[in-house]
Symmetry: C3
Subunit: 406 residues, 3 copies
Amino acid sequence: MVEESIKQLIQSLNVFYLLAGAVMILSMHAGFAFLEAGTVRKKNQVNALVKIIVDVAVATLAYFFIGYPLAHKIGFIKPAAELVSDQGFELVRFFFLLMFAACISAIVSGGVAERMKFRPYITAGFFLAGIIYPIFEALIWGERWSPAFQGWIEKMFGAPIHDFAGSMVVHGLGGWIALPAVIILGPRMGRYIKDQSKPIPISNIPYLALGSWILIIGWFGFNVMSSQSIESISGLVAVNSLMATAGGLIGGVLIGKNDPGFIHNGALAGLVAICAGSDIVNPISAFFIGFVAAWIFVKAFIWEQEKLKIDDVLGVWPLHGINGVWGGIAAGIFGQEALGGLGGVSIISQFVGVLLTIIYAVIAGFVLYKVLDVIFGLRLSEEEEFNGSDLSIHKVDAYPEDSLKV
Amino acid sequence: MVEESIKQLIQSLNVFYLLAGAVMILSMHAGFAFLEAGTVRKKNQVNALVKIIVDVAVATLAYFFIGYPLAHKIGFIKPAAELVSDQGFELVRFFFLLMFAACISAIVSGGVAERMKFRPYITAGFFLAGIIYPIFEALIWGERWSPAFQGWIEKMFGAPIHDFAGSMVVHGLGGWIALPAVIILGPRMGRYIKDQSKPIPISNIPYLALGSWILIIGWFGFNVMSSQSIESISGLVAVNSLMATAGGLIGGVLIGKNDPGFIHNGALAGLVAICAGSDIVNPISAFFIGFVAAWIFVKAFIWEQEKLKIDDVLGVWPLHGINGVWGGIAAGIFGQEALGGLGGVSIISQFVGVLLTIIYAVIAGFVLYKVLDVIFGLRLSEEEEFNGSDLSIHKVDAYPEDSLKV
Amino acid sequence: MVEESIKQLIQSLNVFYLLAGAVMILSMHAGFAFLEAGTVRKKNQVNALVKIIVDVAVATLAYFFIGYPLAHKIGFIKPAAELVSDQGFELVRFFFLLMFAACISAIVSGGVAERMKFRPYITAGFFLAGIIYPIFEALIWGERWSPAFQGWIEKMFGAPIHDFAGSMVVHGLGGWIALPAVIILGPRMGRYIKDQSKPIPISNIPYLALGSWILIIGWFGFNVMSSQSIESISGLVAVNSLMATAGGLIGGVLIGKNDPGFIHNGALAGLVAICAGSDIVNPISAFFIGFVAAWIFVKAFIWEQEKLKIDDVLGVWPLHGINGVWGGIAAGIFGQEALGGLGGVSIISQFVGVLLTIIYAVIAGFVLYKVLDVIFGLRLSEEEEFNGSDLSIHKVDAYPEDSLKV
């Protein structure tokens, strides 16, 4: 009887614990919204805010009806009485994992900002959370294919693909899906003139900083609660997340030369990179992983924007894509016992994971946005883009009272 | 001895759990503050921020000394040693329920914005949290009258009035109290000229969005922790809240035609409506309830402002009042087992609850604001209103550095 | 076996509990950032935001490698396997206590704003979190000297120095370190002309309010989780924090004459003052302590800025320093059983604590900033200060798009 009551209590606690994580990641979407609102021009701030919050709603529908059943073989079209038999733990698990799924579109959003039509953007969000993400999730984490696939990987290379909180599954996937989307869409008007790069000034660094802070705070739910049960909570995950944030910040200061954009995004780069190995690497390695992530972000951002001439507005490909890859590989290196890690990882498996992420994401992203381009056209008209997506799509700009006065 | 230590642990956990809820709802007041600051004109932003935060303080006093003892028959004018005998659980319960009480004035605030004097506003807040709300709370939830009254309702109509997290008790009450307050106060200068509606542009959509996000995140504490003990936590409540948010957002997009105000408030409308039945309805019903709530909000807002010519600045009557009613009724419908709910509700009881809410709120609100009008006068002078409540009341505006330059 | 599994569960819960506190205090740093960004001029907003977030990173390094081992005799340069033997509880305790350490520099930041060089500022942050704070912490709280020192204090004066959540150890220390820093640095250009005070208008009250709200919310983690174990959680701490906030707000309204700066800072003053005694005083005393704290803040701020002509931009000496002292003494008074407190405090011990705080902080702060002044020079050049630290240090201002247009 005592054992029964302990079991009951742990059930309740797991609902509470995972829910805390889910709500923290939900709050990260506010972070995505303000990070983008601060980075785009004033005339596109409303659109940035609306895209992200509506994404959450669309992803909820897509993942509830399609994505979660697809990846985890459990659906929720049942009477409430059945849904509460486990105190709603499975529902909360859906909520928690949905919040990851919804990140994919939020990541893409930053890349395609300031020039994309609303309807195809939202439609893409539905397919990302309903199908494209869940298929990949099912392979690495989900109940559907993961046991067989990861079992096979383990047999081949000595350990399954290790991606504790989604450097590859979430950030890598999102960042590498964004790449074809951004390329198909093309650069904003005036961004590159006669092959010359003409950087477009951002609107609001306090919003950018607010977004970054909200993301940093929520990320502790993203990483820590990825253990999915209170009994497997690990303080190491939390402190590694902190150390990677610190490394990313210091990297942002030193390599980004005090630039506030590089500093605030440096923290995020560190957090992207630590996701995969946060449960197994040493805190000192975590600091190093974060520092390198900021270095990668700064260098790759400049290379992307100036050399490759890809107009990825928030730099989501370097931030989430390339650093997702770095995170996947870093888990394989610094997770080794010889380097102070907990072991149980294989560098080859990590490379397979990284390759799989890139290939799957680029193909899926290319097909998705190409098809949507054919059906809807992805891009605002020149006039609409010039007037800003706020006025064009939402019939209002971010500061109506001020606009009236001018 | 083991049983004793489990009991002790559960006590600690309940303090932690309910406190998490209390702090989350406290944060919602920051959401109210920014939602209002973004929706009013720049010259009234400071007043919006100050009203809400001072409300919290005034409500704390009123509910500590009067409201909580009135509704729950327990007071706290005791030595600390007695207050910690239960690890302070009763104190935390006070904190949690106080946060609901403080919402009433925060709701009214949005309706009476930009033209009301500070002193009567704050005085009203004291009576709302100290007397008017607690009396109603005592009837539906509290220890004082609820057992007798709800017992009688149950005997009459088959089930007590079901209002899990306060669609009626909190939001309905607040919204229907705001209605007479707004009418007594009258429209802002220039809002209706010769019977023509002249909408006043809002100042800052990013603030509005920030406020909405803060409210959405905190609302998970509002709803989930309404179970008031960790052992009765229900994942269904959380996911229903999420589904109603999603429904409200989609409704805001479709019915509000991409308007950012309708979208961000649509989420809130969904959350208002799901409060009552979040513990018993099916997630699919929750989505529908949220969607309808957004539809109600958009339609009722336009009807109120354009046809009835009521200058309810944030639309708090449609948002909290009418949608609180919808939430109360929806719990009676979709809570039925036949519709996938958990049962134990009566539509007639819900109608009684709704009627009671409306009648009590309108009378209480009318009397309160009429009396305050006679004593203090509710309204700023024309000159004060023209200059803005920031300069008139707080002797400073929201951006002093900028004002100096002009 | 049941007892073992309960022990295990409590271990997990303690990690979760203390981590929740750590993340809440981490979020407070976003509050410091926005409070300062709103209070400085626009041309220094970026620098305010960057200083605080980079501080967190620098403090993390300093406290990980030096500070925590110094105060608590435990280091973390170990393989991960050893670090997770307690589920990472010690790591999370490091994270939690680090967040206090990082506050010192964040407090100083508000005083030295708008005119200090970045490199000496950051270097100071390293020494504050790595050495100066830990030495004091070791005396009052830490494993290194506290048992002997506090034992001696108890033998001498009847009770150890009581400082539950750091009115003295954190806020007092920070505020009294800021005082010599601000004096050495001297006032901003144009702040005092020919001995006349010329107040410099602040830029953004909504940012100030946002910062204040974030601090208030996070403070519940600061205070409540200072119990450091779930089993010793106390609802009294939470409600006392709330009551002190309420007292500070009411004080801000009445003594600060509706000024939004005094109101929002009044809440913080109340929270600073309640830290020390939040676990032992009566809620009614807590309200009074908060009210007096706001009174002290308003009066001392005006005295400091107008009479003493100290250009402490955010008023961190009155806010954290003087109110930290008030908090330490108030715990000694209102903690007495005769005044409804839980007892176990000595007024003389509290005075000793307060004196120690002031002496240690002033000397340490004076030496630190003098040495840094000699090595680096603390102050921006006149031209740099005139152009603003954003352009001078970060090569960008807070609103690049707007600046371009002008």
